[in-house]
C-alpha cells in the first residue's frame, strides 16, 4: 500500500544548490500529479551557512511540516549537524551521502539504509562543469520513479539564462544520477490528477494583492518578506503599476499612504521589526481613512529574533500596536493557496472600508512552496457608501460609517486629509463632539460590515474545538485527524478575519463543543488572551502556545489535547 506521505531532507552548505534540488524534484513530482510541500530552512548567513530543502510528498494538500524524514540526502555532515533539532529521521530511513567520511552516530542510530557514492567525483567525471547537486537530483528522482528527461527539462528551464555548457552539465549529471544502481527503494504516495499550481505563500499573497487591484507598492527589504516584493516588482511592471524601493519602512508606509490618497490601491510587505516602524503611520491611515494593505510575514521575535524561522508572535502588535483608538482590519491566510484569497480580501476590505488592513502571514506559509489546486478567488466587495448630496464632506457621518472618498483630480471635492482629529469637512477640530462622532464613525464602518462566511474555515464536528490562524491551521487539522484515531472527535476553526473579531459567529461555531483549545506558535498565548478578552466562552478555553523556530506539530497538539481531556 502506498504511504500517505514521504518526507525528504536535503542538506548542505548555503549556496550549494540544495534548494534548487528540492524545487526541481517537487516540480517533476507535481508534473506526475503528485502533491507536496517544499520548506526552506536557512541559517542566518547567505553564503557559507547551512541550507536545507525539506520536502514532504503527500496525498492531500494539507501541508504541515514533516515530523520525521524518510529520506536524507546530506552533501556533507557538518551542515547536516546544524539542523540537529529540525531534521528527525524515521527508523530505517534512506540516507544518501558521500562514500568517504564518518556518518554521525545519531544518524546511524536509526539503522539507516545507506546509499554511499562518491557523488562529487561522479559529477565531475560526468561533465567538466558537472555539479554534485544535479547528480543528487538524479539519484532522488530515480528513488521517486521520475524520469531523467522530465528532470532535465525542468533543470534546463531553470538555467535558461546560464551558458549552454551549464545546461549540458546539469542534464548529463541528472542522467548519470538516474542511471546509478541503487541498493534500496522507497514507496511513494499515490499521485492525483495532473495540473494545478506550484507557488509559495509569498507569491500567492502578492498575486492576490495584484488581482485585487493593487497598482502601487513601496518596498523595504526584510526577511522573510522580501520575496513578496521582488515577485510583485515583475507583476507590477507587467500590469503597468509602480514599485518604489523606499529608504526605510517609515518611508514605505507613508509612500503607500500617499499613493492611496491619489486613488491608487497601494500595498507594502514587511516583517515584525518593519511593522513596528510602520505603526505610527498605520494610525495615520486609520485616522485619515486612507485605504492601505500591509502584509506582515511573521518571523521569530522580539527584536531581530530569529529572522529566518517562522513564528506567530506579531499578533499583539498587529491588533494593539497602534496608538489611540484606531480600529483596523487584521486577517490571516489559512494556507499557501489561501494567501491569494486572503490577500485579495484584505485589499477589497481596506479599499471598501477606507482603512488599514494588516495580513498576518508567517515564514512557514510565506516561504514554503507547494503544489496546490488552482487557488480560490475573492470577489470584490459591495459596500454601502453614501453619496454626498450637495457640498462634499469627506468625513460625512453616514449610517454605514463609510463616506465618499474623492481623489485629487476629482472636480470640486477638494479636501485636506488629516491625522489631526477633524470634523466632517476634514477641518482640524479638538471639539468633543467631533472626536466622539469621528471615532464612532471609524469604528462603525468596520463593525457594521457584513463579512459573510469568509471570516473562518470550520471543519468537522466534535466535542473538542481547535482554534487557530495562519500556519497553525494545517497543524490543527492534522491534530484533529490524530485525535479521531484516538476516538476524540474535534472541530477545527481557522480564523481568516481576526479583527474585527466575529464574536457571534465564533460563538455559534463553538456550539456543541465541550471544550476549546487555542493553538498558536508563540510564547505568550497572544490569540488566547485576545479571545478571552473579547468574548465569554460557554466552555472551558485551553491554551496551546509554543514559540518557533520549530514548526507546530499536529502530534504534539493532539497529545496536549488528550492530556487535558484526561486531567
Amino acid at each position: 500500500m502506498a504511504p500517505k506521505e514521504l518526507s525528504i531532507a536535503i542538506t548542505g552548505a548555503g549556496g550549494a544548490g540544495v534548494i534548487s534540488v528540492g524545487e526541481l524534484l517537487l516540480q517533476a513530482w507535481a508534473r506526475e500529479g503528485g502533491r507536496g510541500l517544499l520548506r526552506k530552512a536557512f541559517g542566518p548567513q547567505i553564503r557559507g551557512g547551512e541550507s536545507a530543502a525539506l520536502l514532504k510528498l503527500t496525498e492531500t494538500e494539507r501541508y504541515t511540516a514533516a515530523s520525521e524524514y524518510n529520506v536524507l540526502l546530506a552533501f556533507d555532515w557538518n551542515n547536516f549537524a546544524r539542523f540537529g533539532d529540525e531534521i528527525c529521521l524515521s527508523p530505517g530511513a534512506v540516507v544518501i551521502c558521500e562514500d568517504a567520511g564518518d556518518i554521525p552516530a545519531e544518524v546511524m542510530a536509526v539503522e539507516p539504509r545507506l546509499i554511499r557514492l562518491p557523488m562529487s567525483k561522479l559529477a565531475a567525471a560526468t561533465h567538466a562543469d558537472g555539479r554534485v547537486n544535479m547528480f543528487a537530483l538524479g539519484l532522488l528522482g530515480q528513488l521517486l520513479g521520475l524520469t531523467a528527461d522530465s528532470l532535465e527539462q525542468l533543470a534546463r528551464q531553470k538555467l535558461i539564462n546560464k551558458p549552454e555548457s551549464y545546461r549540458e552539465a546539469a542534464g548529463a549529471c541528472i542522467q548519470s544520477g538516474v542511471a546509478q544502481t541503487l541498493s534500496c527503494e522507497v514507496s511513494v504516495p499515490d499521485c492525483g490528477t495532473k495540473g494545478g499550481w506550484y507557488l509559495s505563500g509569498n507569491q500567492a499573497a502578492g498575486l492576490g494583492a495584484l488581482e485585487a487591484g493593487i497598482r502601487f507598492v513601496a518596498a523595504y527589504p526584510i526577511t522573510p518578506a522580501s520575496d513578496v516584493l521582488e515577485w510583485m516588482a515583475g507583476g507590477l511592471e507587467a500590469l503597468g503599476g509602480n514599485l518604489v524601493q523606499a529608504e526605510d519602512e517609515l518611508a514605505a508606509i507613508n509612500m503607500i499612504i500617499g499613493a492611496a490618497f491619489g486613488g491608487v490601491p497601494s500595498f507594502t510587505a514587511t516583517s515584525g521589526p518593519g511593522l513596528a516602524l510602520m505603526t505610527e503611520s498605520i494610525g495615520l491611515a486609520v485616522a485619515s481613512e486612507t485605504p492601505i494593505t500591509i502584509l506582515n510575514v511573521m518571523r521569530g521575535g522580539p527584536s531581530t529574533g530569529i529572522p529566518t524561522k517562522s513564528e506567530q508572535s506579531d499578533l499583539n502588535i498587529a491588533l494593539h500596536g497602534l496608538h489611540g483608538d484606531a480600529p483596523h482590519l487584521v486577517l490571516a491566510p489559512l494556507d499557501i493557496a489561501d494567501c491569494v484569497y486572503t490577500s485579495a480580501w484584505a485589499v477589497h476590505l481596506a479599499q471598501g472600508l477606507q482603512t488599514a488592513a494588516i495580513v498576518l502571514s508567517d515564514q512557514f506559509i510565506g516561504q514554503s512552496t507547494a503544489v496546490v489546486s488552482e487557488p480560490e478567488r475573492c470577489d470584490p466587495l459591495v459596500v454601502a457608501e453614501q453619496a454626498n448630496d450637495n457640498d462634499y464632506l469627506r468625513y460625512r457621518l453616514t449610517d454605514s460609517g463609510v463616506s465618499t472618498l474623492a481623489a485629487p483630480g476629482d472636480a470640486d471635492q477638494r479636501f485636506t486629509a488629516d491625522g489631526l482629529e477633524h470634523n466632517e469637512k476634514g477641518t482640524p477640530s479638538a471639539r468633543d463632539d467631533d472626536h466622539q462622532l469621528q471615532l464612532a464613525k471609524r469604528s462603525r464602518k468596520l463593525t457594521e460590515h457584513d463579512y459573510g462566511d469568509a471570516w473562518a474555515r470550520i471543519e468537522g464536528e466534535g466535542e473538542v474545538a481547535l482554534v487557530g490562524f495562519g500556519s497553525a491551521s494545517a497543524a490543527i487539522a492534522e491534530a484533529a485527524e490524530l485525535l479521531a484515531e484516538q476516538g476524540i472527535a474535534a472541530r477545527t476553526i481557522s480564523l481568516r478575519l481576526i479583527a474585527p473579531l466575529q464574536q457571534q459567529k465564533l460563538q455559534a461555531a463553538l456550539d456543541g463543543c465541550d471544550s476549546a483549545f487555542v493553538i498558536e506558535q508563540n510564547h505568550g498565548g497572544q490569540l488566547f488572551h485576545y479571545l478571552r478578552g473579547m468574548m465569554d466562552f460557554s466552555q472551558p478555553l485551553h491554551r496551546y502556545s509554543r514559540a518557533g523556530p520549530l514548526p507546530l506539530s499536529g502530534k504534539a497538539i493532539a497529545a496536549a489535547v488528550i492530556q487535558e481531556s484526561r486531567s
Binding site: G195, Y198, L239, N242, A251, N254, I257, G258, A411, R414
Partner: protein
C-alpha cells in the same frame, strides 16, 4: 477643471483661518504659494499640498487645493508615493526645519537623490515652534533660549542647501519671508522645474526667535544666474552665510521614475501553472 485664466491669489485661499502667531513668516509663504498658483493659473483639483507636523505643516488646510496633513517628518514620503502613483498631479511637499531635517532627514536626502518631479518647500525658522521653542538641526550652536538646551544645542547646524546638493538635488533655491514677491517667483519656477525642486525658505519665528527680525539686514538677493556646476555650488554652499536668496543651483538630471512604456496586458499567473 478649475484652471483659472485670470486667477487671483485669494481664489486659492481656503475658508480655514491660519493658526499662526501674528508676525509669523509662514503667512508670507502662504501668500507666496497662492500668488505663484495664481501666476501659473494652476488647477486646484489637480494640485496637492502634503505636509508633516509643525507650525508650517498646517499650511495645506489654508489652501483651496487637495491636501494631506500627515505625521511628523513623513510628508516627503507621502508626496513621493503620490507623485509616482499619479504623475498627472502637481505635488508640493512642505514643512519646517525640524520636520524636514531632523525626524524626516532621511526622507529629505533620499528625495534629493531620487529626483521625483515635485517641489519641496522647507520653511526654516531654526526652531521647533509648535512644541514651544526647542533647538532644531538648523539652530546656531550657541542659541541658549531653550530650557531643553539651556547652554545652546552645542552642535553645528546643518546647511540645508549643502545637504541637498550632496544628496543629489538638481534644483535649489532660497527665499525669505520678508520678500514674498521673490518667493512667489521662486515657487512658480520650482513647480515648473522638471524634477525635485527644493525651496529653502528663511521664515522667521518672532515668538521664539525675535532676533530673526534682524535677518532683513543680512538677506541679499543673488544677482547672478544659478550655478550649474556641482563643484562650484559645493564651495558656495559651504562658504556662504546662508542668507543669499534666489535660484542658487540648477543642473540637468534625469527624473525618476522614467516614463513607462505602454504594456500589453500580461497573465501574471502564467508562471504558477503546472
Amino acid at each position: 477643471m478649475n484652471q483659472i485664466a485670470s486667477a487671483k491669489p485669494k481664489d486659492y485661499k481656503s475658508a480655514v483661518k491660519p493658526i499662526w502667531c501674528p508676525g509669523c513668516g509662514h503667512f508670507s509663504v502662504l501668500n507666496a504659494i497662492t500668488k505663484a498658483f495664481a501666476g501659473l493659473g494652476i488647477d486646484k483639483d489637480d494640485t496637492v499640498l502634503v505636509s508633516g507636523i509643525g507650525c508650517s505643516s498646517r499650511l495645506p488646510a489654508y489652501v483651496d487645493s487637495y491636501g494631506f496633513h500627515g505625521v511628523h517628518g513623513r510628508g516627503l514620503a507621502i508626496a513621493q508615493g503620490l507623485k509616482v502613483a499619479r504623475p498627472d498631479l502637481t505635488v508640493i511637499a512642505l514643512g519646517g526645519d525640524g520636520d524636514g531635517f531632523s525626524i524626516g532627514g532621511n526622507h529629505f536626502i533620499h528625495a534629493c537623490r531620487r529626483n521625483v518631479n515635485m517641489t519641496y518647500i522647507a520653511m526654516d525658522n531654526e526652531v521647533y515652534g509648535m512644541t514651544k521653542g526647542q533647538a532644531s538641526p538648523t539652530t546656531a550652536a550657541d542659541w541658549d533660549h531653550s530650557k531643553l538646551t539651556p547652554h545652546g544645542p552645542g552642535v553645528r547646524p546643518f546647511k540645508p542647501a549643502a545637504l541637498a546638493l550632496a544628496s543629489g538635488a538638481p534644483w535649489i533655491a532660497r527665499g525669505y519671508s520678508g520678500n514674498p514677491n521673490q518667493m512667489a517667483r521662486l515657487i512658480a519656477e520650482a513647480i515648473e522645474h522638471p524634477g525635485f525642486s527644493f525651496v529653502h525658505v528663511l521664515s522667521q519665528c518672532i515668538t521664539f526667535c525675535p532676533e530673526q527680525t534682524d535677518w532683513k539686514a543680512v538677506v541679499n538677493e543673488r544677482d547672478e544666474p544659478a550655478l550649474a556646476d556641482a563643484d562650484e555650488a559645493a564651495r558656495m554652499f559651504l562658504h556662504e552665510n546662508g542668507f543669499q536668496t534666489g535660484v542658487l543651483y540648477n543642473a540637468a538630471r534625469s527624473v525618476w521614475p522614467p516614463e513607462q512604456v505602454e504594456l500589453q496586458s500580461a497573465d501574471i499567473t502564467e508562471g504558477f501553472r503546472l
